[in-house]
């Protein structure tokens, strides 16, 4: 409970949380505020924002309501961010925990695989995966998760390396615990805080990766996503720049919110590191 108190003492962390809650509120209220399909034609194309009360944020080049797309896009971004992060962290913890706990050849094999993933620029790898497996929402999400796990794996491994020789782990061994019990029950809870904090970075990157894919028109075109909107706006960027700018701001705000929350969590979970 101390951690919660410490979290709310930091203004940046509170602002981040408010922004993140706003984005979540957008995602939740999308269906209620815009009951129609956000990808359906709604009016004249390229209406400037604030010029028509029916389309508060204007319309894009095919006459679809930008506001509706932004609200529905929040769902997609949060979904991809959340699920891809969960996949990346899960793989990362598994690989890192085994490598760090057992060391020796297990560590060698797992770390060489991790390095292979890390040497490839992850966006290139993402392009390959999407090119091979197609660009539906599911494959994009899984692909983003699969390219993001090496960093959390290294972080988990480092934590395990330092924790596995601690006396409380040895004490667990002398009590007769099995390796699985030691890894899950003793070491992992102590290794988790930095990994959780790092998850916010993974989530921010995941949202950006999906947007970048969509900008190249390689993401799922059948859903309203911010990246898709930016990609569409590319054609009219010099005159109707707002088509790309509005979803750009939405991405900026979301990534900022996630980062601020992550930083706040870091300070709250590791209070001794603050002020260094």
């Amino acid at each position: 409970m101390d951690a919660v108190k410490r979290y709310f003492r930091s203004p940046a962390a509170v602002i981040g949380l408010i922004l993140l809650l706003l984005v979540i509120a957008m995602a939740v209220s999308a269906g209620f505020l815009y009951p129609r399909d956000p990808l359906a034609l709604a009016g004249r194309p390229l209406i400037w924002p604030f010029s028509n009360p029916r389309f508060l944020l204007g319309t894009d080049n095919s006459g679809r309501d930008i506001a509706a797309q932004i609200f529905y896009g929040a769902r997609i971004s949060l979904l991809i961010g959340g699920v891809a992060t969960a996949i990346a962290i899960l793989i990362g913890i598994l690989v890192g925990a085994f490598a760090g706990y057992y060391g020796g050849w297990v560590d060698n094999v797992l770390m060489r695989i991790t390095e292979a993933f890390q040497t490839l620029p992850n966006f290139v790898l993402l392009l390959v995966l999407v090119a091979v497996f197609g660009s539906t929402l599911t494959t994009v999400t899984i692909a983003v998760g699969v390219v993001s796990w090496p960093a959390p794996a290294r972080l988990t491994r480092a934590e395990f390396l330092s924790l596995r020789n601690r006396e409380f782990v040895q004490a667990g061994k002398t009590l007769g615990m099995k390796d699985v019990q030691l890894i899950l029950g003793e070491i992992l809870p102590n290794a988790l805080p930095p990994v959780i904090v790092y998850a916010s970075v993974v989530m921010a990157v995941a949202i950006l990766l999906e947007s970048a894919l969509a900008f190249l028109r390689l993401s799922d075109p059948n859903v309203a996503s911010w990246g898709n909107l930016i990609g569409l706006g590319r054609d009219v960027l010099r005159v109707q720049w707002y088509v790309s700018a509005i979803p750009g701001i939405a991405i900026l705000v979301t990534v900022l919110a996630v980062s601020l929350v992550g930083q706040g969590l870091n300070d709250a979970l590791n209070p001794r590191l603050k002020g260094r």
Binding site: F168, G176, N190
Partner: protein, 544 residues
């Protein structure tokens, strides 16, 4: 009368809100004259290190000097500008620390780091500096000074590093030397040498020394005058003889009484049956090398054979690197010994498979050294104690109920089971560790330095508890320690280890009363304040 070098006048240091007390130091007044050693002694948290840092103005940001003066060289250091302080530090007041490895820069040679003192504070040329460094290293009697100047910190032993630190501190002939627990991290024989060195240098250079320690043995060895601190305030101060032999304050009396006597108590009747027999156990480490060539071989444990009679306590004593902890870990199979057998209840414990060790581990349990690192910070105390039985198949609720009973046994409040380890003091945590080991109802308890991280008064309580439990539960204990005074108090038998081998073993009273091996003799002679405790114990005996 010699002149006063440093005087503290009502020095009060405020701690940030949320600390266990409002002031780290309250109203501390004392003075040090030239050519004297003033020992500041107190338990952990008494504010003794905070005092040294306050004098040097090296306090953490959130801690500040509230009032009082620190007069040195005719000026008040509490009011000095940062630039002035930089001139004072090193040149006027020098400091040596507890752990020389962390106080030295690992990437630069010893000679380079000592020479830095001159290049910062003087205008000497490079060759002059090199000559001065050489002279200093000879002064602190480092073996082979010219090689030591070129060595990196990790290439020297702990004692040699501390000598290098002293050379650095004395480089500019400071008026005052502050030594913050300079010998705590060292072995007894090294400690004795360093104490003698500090005394010699101090007498030759007429330096004033502020010596911070927690050990009354060290105080008896080195102090001219003593200041006893408790909770950030001075409890008692006076000449060393007077404070040691005729303490006035109750806290001083308590601290002196807690210093364990070196004499072994009357031997107890030992059982003829051996519960644990260690025969020819060896463990060798090989590091580096390629295909067996050029590897560094360390023989951590060499052909050790020991017996533990049922219900007895066997002490394994030795300095750091003697292999005693490796032996302990071999006995509980945290490390697999290379050769030899460990017979426990007739089974060869050294040859059991991993799965069998897991099953049989309830017969032999271990208590660890560091009460902070040996408890999982994310589990509640009762859960920690109940873990063992749960692993071995006891129902969870039942195990927790048992754990609460064990809390009572080790002298903790049973309702404290819902608290996390960080909410307990060091001594209480060690009791939790003990309860955890006892929860499996072991026959043999292996205790690896269980009291060396604790203050003397707490140490005495934990030892008393251990002795009581031994009687009550019929435990057989292997007790590993570097502190011969602690071993004398609790062990029926002792084995002295040096470089991985046992050099002498036997009944405690015999080994300590009439040591045969030169190494045992050297260990016993090196214990600081040996004469003082002997005198005290003789006085106590006469008083009875």
């Amino acid at each position: 009368m010699s002149e006063t070098v440093l005087s503290l006048d009502g020095l009060t240091v405020r701690l940030p809100g949320g600390a266990d007390r409002p002031h780290a130091l309250s109203d501390v007044s004392l003075s040090i004259a030239s050519n004297e050693i003033l020992c500041v002694v107190g338990e952990s948290g008494s504010g003794k290190s905070m005092m040294a840092n306050a004098i040097m103005r090296l306090l953490p940001n959130e801690v500040s000097i509230e009032r009082g003066r620190t007069m040195f060289d005719g000026r008040d250091l509490c009011a000095a500008e940062p630039a002035e302080m930089r001139d004072v530090r090193g040149a006027g007041i020098a400091m040596i620390f507890q752990e020389p490895m962390t106080a030295l820069n690992p990437l630069r040679t010893i000679g380079d780091q000592i020479g830095e003192m001159f290049s910062i504070h003087t205008k000497l040329s490079k060759t002059e500096i090199a000559a001065r460094v050489q002279a200093l290293l000879e002064d602190v009697r480092i073996p082979d000074p010219s090689a030591a100047a070129k060595a990196y910190p990790h290439e020297l032993s702990g004692g040699q590093r501390q000598r290098a630190m002293i050379a650095m501190a004395l480089a500019l002939d400071p008026k005052l030397l502050i030594a913050d627990e300079p010998t705590t991290a060292l072995d007894v024989t090294t400690q004795a040498q360093i104490l003698k060195l500090i005394r010699d240098l101090q007498q030759r250079k007429k330096t004033a020394v502020l010596f911070i320690t927690h050990d009354f043995g060290v105080v008896a060895e080195i102090a001219d005058r003593v200041v006893v601190m408790q909770h950030g305030a001075i409890a008692e101060q006076g000449a060393a003889d007077k404070v040691l032999n005729d303490p006035q304050h109750a806290y001083t009396k308590q601290l002196i009484a807690a210093v364990p006597p070196l004499k072994a108590p009357l031997p107890r009747l030992l059982s003829g049956k051996h519960i644990l027999t260690i025969d020819g156990v060896s463990k060798t480490y090989r590091t580096g090398g390629f295909l067996g060539r050029g590897a560094r071989v360390t023989e951590a444990v060499k052909n050790v054979s020991l017996h533990l009679p049922r219900g007895a306590t066997l002490g394994i004593v030795g300095e750091s690197g003697s292999g005693k902890s490796t032996l302990a870990r071999c006995i509980v199979r945290l490390i697999d010994p290379d050769t030899g057998s460990i017979l426990l209840n007739g089974k060869d414990w050294a040859k059991l498979s991993r799965d069998d060790v897991r099953r049989e581990t309830r017969h032999i349990q271990m208590v660890f050294q560091d009460p902070f690192a040996s408890l999982n910070p994310r589990r509640k105390a009762a859960e920690l104690v109940a873990q063992g039985p749960i692993v071995h198949g006891t129902d969870r609720a039942e195990a927790i109920a048992e754990a609460r009973k064990l809390f009572e046994l080790v002298g903790l409040d049973p309702s404290a089971g819902d608290r996390f380890p960080h909410e307990f003091s060091g001594g209480q945590r060690q009791r939790i560790g003990l309860a955890r080991a006892l929860a499996l109802k072991p026959d043999v308890l292996v205790a690896d330095e269980p009291v060396s991280a604790l203050d003397v008064s707490v140490q005495a309580q934990v030892l008393k508890l251990l002795a009581g439990l031994r009687q009550q539960l019929g435990l057989s204990i292997i007790f590993i320690t570097h502190d011969l005074r602690v071993a004398a108090q609790i062990c029926d038998l002792v084995a002295v280890m040096k470089d991985g081998a046992v050099v002498e073993q036997g009944l405690t009273a015999e080994v300590f009363g009439n040591p045969q091996h030169p190494y045992t003799q050297a260990l016993l002679a090196a214990i600081p304040g040996g004469d003082f405790t002997c005198k005290r114990d003789a006085a106590a005996l006469a008083g009875e």
